[in-house]
């Protein structure tokens, strides 16, 4: 089966010569139609840059991105337009991503009319009502004349989703889409996105720094863990979460505080050799995690970058030293 979106050895650099930063370094991954894929990692790991490249907002500096099997830089005008419609992005900050002087009605009907998804303003109005209902902004008519400042963060994010839906997307890149929303309404936002996946067969790339959210949203999908521009581990979500193999994934999962006092105090502490994340301007040789890794093997880890290798439990791990070792993240009680 042909992947919906495929990245082949994709890299992205920023800046000139001496200040050159490799934000994404040789990333290959394939996302199938209807899949939920999470991209997790800390700030600066390249997850948002990867999302922007997939959405066509940034060109890669190396490698290529395939949309339904065709490199996006080789698409003709018609195909390129179809790709840009099919792949939509929802940004993190709903306070910055909506035009403050447009009403919800304008925000939603403008793309509908511009891209001829409807015939005339009467149809645009009806379609706008439908879209607002899909994102649970009901009664929809009450929201049409509101300005973004009259909406809560959660409501704004729903408007962003409705706007993305105007062009009938098949693939949504959600970049920290619920991170700025309050805890009590986060879950309903996630459930709404999940419904889109099921009802409209939308494929999701869900970018987040929050592993618990990744687990909840992508339990039936897959997770890719990024560190300093590279994917260090990927696989089906239940495997990555319950049986992480890369020392970085393990360190992350062990470090996350849990909203349960007993559980959080029973978690194993993984001591890193260094607390500081290396600068992208001066990356260590070999595996970039080696200066912090508790399993560092001299002469091996600091020599060449380990490739992602498949493991029998599912997915791939870029650590020849530890990929076959199970580590329990809980101290037995």
């Amino acid at each position: 089966m042909m992947a919906h979106i495929e990245l082949q050895n994709v890299s992205r650099a920023f800046g000139k010569e001496s200040e050159r930063v490799l934000a994404v370094d040789d990333v290959s991954l394939a996302i199938e139609k209807g899949e939920i894929r999470c991209l997790v990692g800390e700030s600066g790991c390249g997850k948002s840059t990867t999302g922007k490249m997939i959405a066509g907002l940034l060109p890669p500096s190396g490698g290529r991105i395939l949309y339904e099997g065709k490199p996006i830089d080789r698409l003709n005008k018609e195909e390129y337009r179809a790709y840009r419609h099919a792949v939509q992005i929802i940004h993190q900050d709903p306070y910055a991503s909506l035009n403050p002087v447009q009403t919800v009605k304008q925000i939603i009907t403008t793309p509908l009319l511009r891209h001829r998804k409807v015939n005339g303003s009467q149809q645009a109005y009806r379609r706008a009502l439908e879209l607002l209902e899909i994102v649970d902004l009901t009664p929809a008519a009450d929201f049409l004349d509101k300005y973004p400042h009259q909406l809560s963060g959660g409501q704004r994010q729903r408007v962003s989703v409705a706007r993305a839906l105007t062009v009938d997307p098949k693939f949504i890149v959600a970049d920290e889409a619920v991170s700025m929303v309050d805890v009590s309404i986060r879950v309903s936002l996630l459930n709404m996105l999940m419904r889109l996946k099921n009802e409209f067969d939308v494929t999701f790339l869900f970018i987040t720094h929050d592993l618990a959210l990744a687990k909840y949203f992508a339990w039936e999908g897959a997770i890719s863990v990024m560190y300093l521009g590279r994917v260090v581990e990927d696989g089906p979500t239940p495997r990555v979460i319950t049986d992480p193999r890369h020392p970085y994934t393990q360190a992350l999962l062990a470090a996350v505080p849990e909203a349960d006092p007993e559980l959080t105090h029973r978690k194993r502490r993984i001591a890193l050799r260094s607390a500081d994340i290396p600068s992208l301007l001066n990356l260590p040789p070999g595996c970039t995690f080696h200066p912090r890794c508790p399993y560092f093997v001299e002469g091996e880890c600091d020599v060449s970058a380990p490739p992602l290798e498949p493991i029998s439990e599912g997915g791939r791990v870029a650590c020849p030293v530890r990929k076959d070792e199970h580590v329990s993240l809980l101290i037995p009680s």
Binding site: E42, S43, S152, G154, Q155, D182, V183, S184, I185, R186, V187, S188, N191, H209, L211, A212, L213, K215, Y216, W219, P238, I241, T242, A251, L252, L253, A255, V256, P257, E258, A259, D260, P261, E262, L263, T264, H265, K267, L272, A275, D276, I277, L329, L330, S333
Partner: protein
């Protein structure tokens, strides 16, 4: 450095009293839309050596309350009612009555605050040392050599490369390092009480862990009295002895960390716990709280949570409940806390780990 201004302190009654007591504190903002009731009658004791976590969503009034204690509210806000009593060595005073000079002494020396945004808390053109020394000097401690020695010790305590960091500019430090410097700075004048507003919110996971471990050392080794303000329940689970849930400017539940997480009695606390996913273990269904947080300019009648509450009855829309004893050292402001208890007996929280279930049923 505990030479408090004795003349100012009133002699308090004997017995171990909490270092900080809030009595019926109300704080209001003036906004274009009208008066905002940010804090509506908070009673709270911060006990000696404890760490208390204030949890709640944005707009619940938790940060306003913290700023009110150190009197750093913006000009449009003021404490309209109530007392903020601070005590040390059997003496007490009302923070809201302090004049400018005494207030300056109260801050840093008695009570310091660590703010959410670590970068904004520094003067960008001063080296860490100058910033620390200025603060010490402003509080009458001008012995350069002794201050420097003390600062180096504090920086070592927060596990920084002290010799390098002391002469660095803020922009030369990473987010986690800056947060550690801020915590070190807050300890400069050996305060009795430390208020931390979202101390780990903007940090990456591994950095956050180092700050949590540092705060745990402050709590366990230094027995510092700490008030944590956080929207993140997990930080409360990590660090709090007691937890207070705030909603629409009021404390709606307060109890030990175990009571709040395993035996919540307020529907809002229960809702928060059921809405937060855990990383460890199998998949769990999450339940969101319907509706959205209230408009503080135009609050609902009765219990402010009733429009979102699955337990609400007519009474809840008419009368606002006060905090009521629901267990030992555990209070909740809900007319239906017993129904919450019954629901939890049928459908316990935290089902994924068998050992935790026994911990609950053992109660």
């Amino acid at each position: 450095m505990s030479q408090a201004d004795d003349a100012f302190f009133h002699h308090a009654a004997a017995g171990e009293k909490p270092p900080l007591s809030l009595r019926n504190v109300h704080i209001m903002y003036q906004s274009r839309k009208g008066a905002v009731n940010a804090v509506r009658g908070v009673d709270l004791d911060l006990r000696a050596g404890e760490s208390l976590s204030l949890i709640g969503e944005s707009g619940s009034g938790k940060t306003t309350l913290g700023l009110g204690v150190v009197r750093l509210l913006v000009k449009t806000a003021r404490v309209t009612q109530g007392e903020i009593i601070y005590r040390r060595d059997g003496l007490e005073m009302d923070v809201s009555q302090l004049d400018a000079r005494r207030l300056r002494e109260f801050r840093w020396r008695e009570c310091s605050m660590v703010f959410q945004s670590a970068l904004n808390s520094f003067n960008p053109v001063l080296r860490i040392w100058n910033q620390m020394y200025d603060t010490a000097k402003a509080h009458g401690w001008g012995d350069r050599r002794a201050v420097r020695e003390h600062v180096l010790n504090l920086l070592r305590f927060v596990q920084l490369d002290a010799e390098r960091v002391i002469d660095a500019y803020p922009h030369e430090l990473s987010g986690g390092m800056r947060q550690r410097v801020l915590i070190a700075m807050s300890l400069l004048l050996d305060p009795q009480v430390l208020i931390l507003d979202e101390p780990t919110t903007a940090l990456d996971i591994l950095t956050q862990r180092t700050i949590i471990e540092l705060l745990r050392r402050l709590k366990d080794e230094q027995r510092l009295t700490m008030l944590f303000i956080s929207h993140d329940l997990a930080i409360a689970a990590e660090l709090a002895d007691r937890i207070a849930t705030m909603y629409a400017g009021k404390i709606v539940e307060i109890g030990s960390a175990d009571d709040i997480f395993y035996r919540p009695r307020h529907p809002y606390t229960l809702g928060l716990i059921r809405a937060v996913p855990k990383v460890i273990g199998e998949f769990e269904d999450l339940v969101s709280i319907p509706g959205s947080p209230p408009d503080l300019v135009d609050l609902p009648s009765g219990c402010k949570f009733h429009p979102r509450c699955p337990f609400a009855t007519d009474r809840c829309s008419r009368e606002e409940p006060d905090l009521e004893q629901v267990g030992k050292d555990h209070a909740a402001a809900c007319w239906h806390w017993q129904s919450v208890a019954e629901e939890l007996a049928d459908r316990p929280l935290h089902q994924s780990l068998p050992t935790l279930q026994t911990a609950q049923s053992g109660e």
